[in-house]
């Protein structure tokens, strides 16, 4: 059984990916309503992934257990942490979970930007901790950014790669640091794109059309931000600003205003774009 901590967008999507590949999953969240919604979402996402041919149609589906009790992860063979991108919260959850699982149990953090070693410091065994930055939606995007912290052990790296192999995912391993590779670049790009809109230089659709048409990106930065969730973008930018001292990462006013208004992107139906009730 693998344990997934946090039944938000990423935790739910990772649970879908795992049960779709036949692994039993214990999904933990403090919010019972969120868990109930996640159970429905996993079924819906599984069917979507199968429909698009991104997941095996035949073969067993892993059992999904939803629980509000962190103690239920005690027997996990690996743990994937996907709680909200707040350093103190992640550190607290990781400290608790590392005291519950057997030594040598892989603990993967799906943090967007917090250095793995910083999070590993809160755990009992930093050598068991590595980073796995899944993209959203994790059951459709096969590439994962794997992060090896300075104290991550060889056994944890082997276990991380083997877990991703069993999920039929590709991976590239990179070194540790704020935002790693993807988010050090992407979050800055999103922030600048939002700033450009804030300054009235271009609309979100115009910014994205240029990235798509000129650079061949499949999705422009602001449509990507809506998919990630603007609340997570703002949290990640704060993490990056605080850890790099680079003021360019400070979330721009337009982004903050959207988060204040509850316009988080696809998951709420509106962000830089209207999403017409799509979830």
């Amino acid at each position: 059984m693998i344990a997934v901590l946090g039944a938000g967008v990423m935790g739910t999507g990772i649970a879908t990916l795992a049960v779709g590949h036949g692994l039993a999953v214990t999904l933990v969240d403090i919010d019972a309503d969120k868990l109930a919604a996640a159970k429905d979402a996993v079924r819906h996402q599984l069917r979507g992934a199968k429909l698009m041919g991104r997941m095996p149609r035949s073969g067993p589906t892993g059992e999904l257990t939803c629980t509000t009790s962190l103690a239920d992860v005690a027997g996990a063979t690996s743990v994937i942490e996907a709680v909200t991108e707040l350093p103190e919260l992640k550190a607290k959850v990781l400290a608790e979970v590392s005291a519950l699982v057997e030594p040598g149990t892989l603990i993967l953090t799906n943090t967007s930007a917090i250095p793995v070693d910083e999070l590993a410091s809160s755990t009992v065994r930093p050598e068991d901790v590595a980073g796995a930055h899944f993209m959203n939606p994790p059951y459709l995007i096969r590439m994962v950014e794997v992060i090896r912290g300075p104290r991550t052990g060889d056994a944890a790296m082997d276990a991380a790669r083997s877990l991703l192999d069993s999920l039929d995912h590709d991976h590239v391993t990179v070194g540790d640091g704020p935002g790693f590779v993807i988010n050090r670049i992407l979050q800055r790009t999103i922030n600048e794109a939002a700033r450009i809109v804030e300054e009235g230089l271009a609309s979100p659709a115009e910014v994205d059309a240029l990235f798509e048409g000129c650079l061949g990106h499949r999705t422009g930065p602001l449509a990507t931000a809506d998919l990630i969730g603007l609340d997570n973008v703002a949290d990640s930018l704060r993490v990056l600003r605080d850890r790099t001292g680079d003021a360019g990462y400070a979330p721009c006013e337009l982004l903050l205003a959207k988060v204040r208004d509850g316009d988080f992107g696809r998951k709420t139906g509106r962000g830089f774009y209207e999403h017409g009730g799509q979830s």
């Binding site: 819906h44 069917r47 979507g48 199968k50 429909l51 698009m52 041919g53 149609r57 035949s58 799509q278």
Partner: protein
């Protein structure tokens, strides 16, 4: 109302255009694979079937005729 007529009405209301029963929904670009998932949910609600396993293939949602055939098969298999 038969299945095919019902589906054509549902599609027209969701896509703001009319369709032929044998028209490829995906080729037009109007219907995405994500919309196919909405079709799954609609078929289940409207016709009391459960679309799972090997039936979860885009080929079964490509045309109204294909969807009707699948629904009839699933209904026949339901005790």
């Amino acid at each position: 109302m038969n299945i095919s007529t019902g589906l054509l009405e549902f599609l027209a209301s969701r896509t703001k255009r009319t369709w032929e029963p044998d028209e490829d929904l995906f080729a037009s670009g109007v219907v995405s694979s994500l919309f196919a998932l909405e079709l799954v949910v609609h078929l289940e609600k409207a016709y009391g079937v459960e679309v799972e396993g090997e039936y979860l293939s885009l080929e079964n949602f490509r045309t109204v005729n294909a969807m009707e055939k699948m629904v009839l098969e699933l209904q026949a298999a339901t005790p």
